[in-house]
């Protein structure tokens, strides 16, 4: 498993760069990850990321899909596409330090 350094944080990642150790994450690192992929973090964006982290734990380590963030988290799909352009589910998972979502929908 590769180890990489993002703005001074040493983290375990998969081959693509998604974090593999849940507890290595904190919000400072989240901000650095967002910066690395060019996403600006607003309050709304942080709320979505916090939901991702919480739901992942509650669902026994399953990264929520975009549909789940919208239905269970109450975030509008349209808004998520604005906050995390083009590939919201993957970008949110990356910033939240979670694996890519596995579900189809």
């Amino acid at each position: 498993m590769p180890v990489t350094t993002i703005e001074g944080h040493e983290i375990h990642v998969d081959d693509e760069g998604f974090m593999t150790v849940y507890d290595e994450w904190d919000e400072t690192l989240g901000a650095a990850l967002a910066g690395a992929i060019g996403v600006e973090m607003s309050d709304d964006a942080w709320n979505a990321i916090r939901f991702m982290r919480k739901d992942f734990k509650e669902q026994d380590d399953v990264t929520p899909t975009l549909r789940r963030v919208s239905t269970a988290g109450g975030f509008e799909t349209k808004k998520l596409f604005e906050l995390f352009p083009k590939k919201p589910a993957k970008k949110m998972a990356y910033i939240a330090g979670l694996p890519k979502p596995k579900g189809c929908v």
Binding site: M1, P2, V3, T4, T5, I6, V13, D15, E16, G17, F18, A36, I37, T65, L66, R67, R68, S70, T71, E76, T77, K78, F81, P85, K86, K87, P88, A89, K90, K91, Y94, G103, C104, V105
Partner: protein, 177 residues
């Protein structure tokens, strides 16, 4: 365990403004089971930043006609891949058209889909529209069924003819379902 000096950051390949990938799916079936492939693939495409156009034609119109879209059916009749809930036992084709089989099969399929957290057809279309997908209705099907925009799901952008569709889908990858 390996350590690298250069940061490993996923490549989202999403900065190709204008020259991005485009997918068009023709939805021509109105059975419950055949409504889903187009919706699932279309939704996945949107999640990958791909421009999406869904074109509804012929029986696929039932997916976007307001009075029918909530009530698509699934029939085991003519479907030899329909099995009993347990094991590999096929439902005999002679039984498939029996009264009660279609509601039962529809109920079962809807439950299996819901158990996976996959929405029903109207909710799925709403999600696709919210994700930026485009829905189009076929002119000939509309005329054949005497259907106007008032009868169609509000997310449908227009009733277009075959040439319009060809124009809209210039450069797109195409799927016929």
């Amino acid at each position: 365990m390996t350590s690298t000096s250069e940061a490993i950051i996923p490549k989202f390949d999403d900065d190709d403004e204008g020259g991005g990938r485009k997918l068009a799916i023709i939805c021509s079936k109105g059975n419950l089971d055949m409504a889903y492939p187009g919706l699932i693939l279309g939704n996945a495409a949107l999640g990958e930043g791909v421009e999406l156009h869904l074109f509804f034609t012929f029986w696929g119109f039932d997916m976007i006609i307001k009075s029918r879209m909530n009530d698509l059916k699934f029939s085991p009749s003519g479907n030899t891949a329909m099995h009993m809930p347990i094991g590999d036992v096929r439902i005999p084709q002679a039984l498939a058209p029996m009264p009660g089989m279609q509601p039962m099969a529809t109920h079962m399929l809807k439950k299996q889909i819901a158990d996976l957290g996959v929405p029903e057809v109207p909710d799925f279309l709403e999600h696709i529209v919210a994700s930026g997908g485009h829905l189009w209705a076929c002119r000939m099907s509309a005329d054949m069924n005497h259907v106007t925009m008032d009868d169609l799901y509000e997310g449908v952008e227009g009733i277009i003819n075959a040439s319009d569709f060809i124009e809209i889908t210039e450069g797109a990858q195409l799927l016929f379902i």
